[in-house]
Symmetry: C2
Subunit: 313 residues, 2 copies
């Protein structure tokens, strides 16, 4: 039976991945900050720890067939505010983990990179995996540096890996508490009447992918020695902020009030991924239609907000 | 009058650059470890310091029109032996410097990157600047990460920069003391009768560029706001180890004895740069013919070894 470990299992994608793996009865461990939703982790061998505690981390991943690396990945804005800290937290700690793995002990690493930031501003859309990577955010640079170190350790020590460059994920367990996730933020605004702060004129285009599709891709990426090592994971479709506001308003049945702010230099104007490589080589494609995915997410958010209200938050 | 600062001015390329700038009567400062050849720096405002001493470094570069970043760049083999240390020394310290430069104070940064390592193993030769960058050495990864941070700070804070991806430089002031530089090592073997340790069968192909050409490129790169930001700097010609042995034997007039060792996984089999972009946009091309460049280098090495012998080293 395959052994899995999820590093950063307490976050948005991690929670979804753990639930899916648990449903499949997988031999499962997790490591990271305390889970945002502790109710999702009973039955999972959970280790609470910091990513820079390489010894504790190694005890957790040693002997695993698949290590999902989702750590240090949640808050792009914070990375820009403290670029040195971001470099240490994400890149340096990854190198420390890879150093520990040099002598063997793990089967492969699946790393969730950022399809929305590693490419920077591109000449063409949709973006293919072999296009230039010139990030304009610290988050994008550190994700890219991790990708390069993974390739280095594969070359020097034979450590297998797969990189998923995930576009803009949304879905259950995304709370928007750290100012992240357009869909989650819009749902909160629609349900609570809070005003939506819009950076720019709402024409910024993103590729929004439902987390159910992301977890499907994560499972597909677990197979050893895939013929390519980097895969875009997205919907393959661009939606701008104004369109998404309309879609969320339609799903919730409530209008959203916008408060306009000047655009930020860290925002790429448009990002849409070409996901044909994942289709051809992982047998993966996005399967949830946008209205269905938004509806699932809205129902989760409604229940989540009701619980928060009941708790007096 | 333009003000220049050379970070890492005490090394091989730094020494050559300082001599050239001094000959031109430039307003010149330098920062770094104590110079290998102190006789080259009188008349230069020299600050001895560590690259992680951001305050001392900033005092040195504040107000400069052109900052040459040549630090942390000399010993690829050491980077692989201590990847975390290399990441800190080269990438993290560069980010600290860029943080200090956010508010202005310097005109532009010229960074010496590594044309021989940032590309990794390529499909085609010669290598063009827009080809994939998948280094197989830690040194290549950290050079590439610095390139990406430079681009980030340009985007976010308008800090101008130019990157020179220099191939395998050789010439005066390369001592091979840290096991680096094929030409310098072969010259020492030819002059002293020491055996040459050859890794692999001698068919590894490199693009050897004379340091006089490299300093020409560094001067050309000082111009502000060039239309491209990354330039290959090399001879554009591939030479394998066996050929170079013959060339050096011919220049010195002495045979070299080889001691064969197994090849190392960190060696890219072949690296030759396409330097046409630098020709078109910097007006730069390699001007020294190989026999002439080797002859100049051999004369310097002979004098250097004679001085070492006189000193009893």
């Amino acid at each position: 039976m395959q052994k899995f470990c999820v590093l950063g299992g307490g976050g948005f994608i991690g929670t979804n991945l753990i639930l899916r793996l648990r449903d499949q009865g997988a031999d499962l461990r997790a490591f990271g900050h305390p889970p945002t939703f502790p109710e999702t982790v009973p039955g999972v061998a959970w280790t609470t720890g910091e990513f820079d505690d390489t010894e504790a981390l190694w005890r957790c991943i040693d002997g695993c067939d698949v290590v999902y690396h989702l750590m240090g990945g949640s808050v792009p804005g914070k990375a820009d505010a403290d670029k040195v800290g971001d470099l240490r937290r994400s890149v340096e700690n990854t190198v420390r983990m890879l150093e520990a793995a040099r002598g063997g002990g793990i089967g492969k690493i699946v790393f969730v990179s950022s399809g929305g930031t590693v490419y920077g501003i591109t000449d063409r859309l949709p973006i293919q995996e072999n296009m230039p990577t010139d990030p304009i955010t610290a988050y994008g640079v550190s994700r890219l540096a991790i990708e390069k170190y993974l390739n280095l350790y594969r070359h020097q020590y034979g450590i297998d890996y797969t990189i998923l460059r995930v576009s803009n994920p949304f879905g259950e367990y995304q709370t928007a508490r750290q100012g992240q996730g357009l869909v989650a933020t819009l749902l909160i605004c629609a349900f609570t009447g809070r005003r939506f702060e819009m950076w720019g004129d709402g024409t910024t285009i993103r590729d929004y992918v439902y987390v159910g599709d992301v977890t499907n891709a994560l499972l597909a990426a677990a197979h050893p020695r895939l013929p390519e090592r980097v895969f875009n994971i997205g919907s393959g479709t661009g939606i701008d902020v104004n369109e998404m506001i309309c879609l969320v308003e339609a799903v919730v049945g409530q209008p959203i009030t916008c408060l306009r702010r000047p655009s930020r230099p860290v925002d790429v104007p448009a990002s849409v991924l070409d996901v044909s490589r994942a289709g051809a080589l992982l047998g993966w494609r996005p399967t949830y239609a946008m209205p269905d995915a938004l509806d699932r997410t809205a129902r989760w958010m409604k229940a989540f907000l009701a619980k928060e209200t009941a708790r007096g938050i």
